[in-house]
Amino acid sequence: MTNIQQFLNQDQEKDLLRLLTAGSVDDGKSTLIGRLLFDSKKIYEDHLSALERDSKKIGHAGDKIDYALLLDGLKAEREQGITIDVAYRYFSTNKRKFIIADTPGHEQYTRNMVTGASTANLAIILIDARKGVITQTKRHTFLVSLLGIKHIVLAVNKMDLMDYSQEVFDQICKDYKQFTTPLSIPDIEFIPLSALNGDNVVDASQHMPWYKGKSLLNYLETVHVVSDRNFDDFRLPIQYVLRPSLDFRGFSGKVASGIIRKGDQVMSLPSRKTATVTRVIGSDGDTELAFPPQAVTITLSHEIDLSRSEMLVHPDNLPRIERQFEAMLVWMDEEKMDPYANFFLKHTTQTTRARIDQIKYRIDVNTLEQHSSDAFELNEIGRVVLTTNKPLLFDPYHKNHETGSFVLINPITNNTCAVGMIIDKMSADDLYSRIADPETRRLVDGGKSLINEDELRKRYRQKGVTLWITGLHGSGKNLLAYTLERQLFDKGATVVLLDGSTVRSGLSKELDYSPTDRAEHMRRVAHVCRILNDQGIITICSFISPKAEIRKQVAEIIGKERFKLFFMDASMDYCRKNKPELYEKAKQNLIKYIPGVDEMYEKPEFSDLILKPEDQSNITTIFSYLESEGIFPLQSE
């Protein structure tokens, strides 16, 4: 092999570092980048002569070369002297290849910085040594931490104007550390430099012998970033299914995280079917294993139903599968957020509909204070609750950038109007407060019926209430509900019966049995009851409703005076005997969320009636209760 071949073989093994530069023109950011490119000999002669020509014509650096002109691409921006969009720059040294996302510094360009940060491994935050840590520095640092960048270089520029003073530098470092402590950024490096004179940019500075660290370029060449990738949780969002012939079916995608090996047992989501990996085809043909960010095609031991928008994972390490979650949202659109819009949400390879349920707060990017907000405007950032039509297969962003990020698309303009980082699934506690938000109810209240309550009572000879039967699976509550419905009907009452199977077959069709979805299911049932009760109709509800909190919320929606709680107090033994198959499966962990097995059933502390399934007189008891409470039958006047 010749020398040149050897050299080239080595050269192509260099890795890639993507970095973001944050700071404004005033801080000398463009000068710094220009200097990096210039000193690493990546400025071509023709660019340089154009630069010298332009420096004289429109430069802002007097007689010196204005490096900023190298970077500011578009004509209008050149004339205004600011970098508006994100510009990408490329250079390489003998050790590494670099992609710089160069973004503008002002607050009105927050979205541009967020964009640049989304793909960066490292951020250089530029400070003017004369000004120290200012509001802008804090904003940039917050955005960098929001986007989960793990390495920050605080480049303290213009040291030449502060006589290269160590004291000045130390004070800035101290201020910055104090500010960043709560942001939990794993790696921060401090470098004093002068971009204009080249101190500590590429070569160590002669003027700052007290600084023993690396020059900026040297640091960028050596900082270790490979382990920032998530190699633990295997996720392969399916992008494309290859079917060239009947005997080949390949699932293509980019390994979002984790490692996949030939022979691994994998599970498809959401169908939860398992299979063994028979082939891993990388960009260079068959291989033993694949890891992020490689693009692969996987074949499986047997046919399982799997298509785009679904995911392959290891069966012992699953992502969250939820329709409701919380996220930090950055509003990117000139058009203000319409909180009632039905957005498109793109997450990994899935696009589904999504709505914003709640804005928890807007965060002031300068002070990090939280404020309430009705709708975000351009560049505003805050915490929201979202619900999607189809469940997302996600991980929290801090654990997994690939499966924790999404964009919102305006359904009318098709613009990408917001981007989000998933915090986690919505906690059940938060959900309750939303269900019973009285302010929303007051605002939504609109028309009023022309038939009054008295008229309804006279017509139906009954009071519209909800008879809510709670109890475990197999406690006999359904049998009681159906018998009660029959007998009330026979005696002339107007009743509607709601139970899990009737509501879930239609109204709550897309909801599953997770606590979040179950709460939503209950909310819908409660609203149906409320409407029917308002019309004078008695509703009989048979639902396990294991959580006291949820029952309380349901009661609040329906109205406490109309909500009658009947507790079917069956023993566990009774229930098991009644539904042996279900409890056996739950015991073997084949089905989840079964109250009394893997989930608490909270017995009501107070109920209107306590019934035992073995008791033959339950119906009689209920009838005398209804009569004594003045619910049914009402005597006609």
Binding site: D46, K75, S92, I281
Partner: protein, 302 residues
Amino acid sequence: MNNYAINNLRELEAEAIHIIREVAAEFENPVMLYSIGKDSSVMVRLAEKAFYPAKVPFPLMHIDSKWKFREMTEFRDRYAKEKGWDLIVEYNKEGFESGIGPFTHGSKVHTDVMKTQALLQALDKHRFDAAFGGARRDEEKSRAKERIYSFRDRFHQWDPKNQRPELWSIYNARVHKGESIRVFPLSNWTELDIWQYIRLENIPIVPLYFAKERPIVDMDGNLIMVDDDRMPKELSEKAVMRKVRFRTLGCYPLTGAIDSEADTIEKIVEEMMTVTKSERTTRVIDFDQEGSMEQKKREGYF
């Protein structure tokens, strides 16, 4: 810890394959523009990899300005046949019949009619909703800010002030009828990356990229090769044999050669590593008006 490191070429390759698959999955009628140049050759190789062992699920399209180097057309026809590409060739018939050419009409008119307009006509004719191009961000300043999915309105125009935010590797593929997306899977590649990848993958390229004695006319510092007898006599008579190669390929009267001894791929990479001029200096069209690339892009040129 470093077992799972990936080198920069493989990382760029993975990014491009992901983009190509994403387009194939989300658009109804994509096409890959094929210019016969080195970037196109790399892009086609990436598409083949993305769908291996299946066939590439979209056609390639070449917009023939009718002034390409003869060796380019030969190369195109040979490989299309050999590899079994689904290749569409389109040109601006009206422009061709009215004899538009760089010698007679200048580079601006020629590029507009035979390249930009020809492309727009072809995209409309086939109703493509996504078109891959081999452009790179390092080529020219205005490209440094272009998205990987670059939105075009019904008139195929690019609005640099109104680009969609593009974060992580999530690409917004939603367009209304008549609108389209230009997709640049090689956005993050540099010229040197392209050459290193061609070497790594042994990708066939047009022989004009390798140095050889060729008949050259020096036109204001641009080394133009005499490729056929459409070059005016008074110019072609001045031709002298010079050892040159081409860094980029386009229409022969608009593409200047460089003096070079690099007749192997290794020598080209070596030359690239020490080169002092950017590649677009050999393109005549970039210099015909100020901010000219940006202007052409706004109008729909790639």
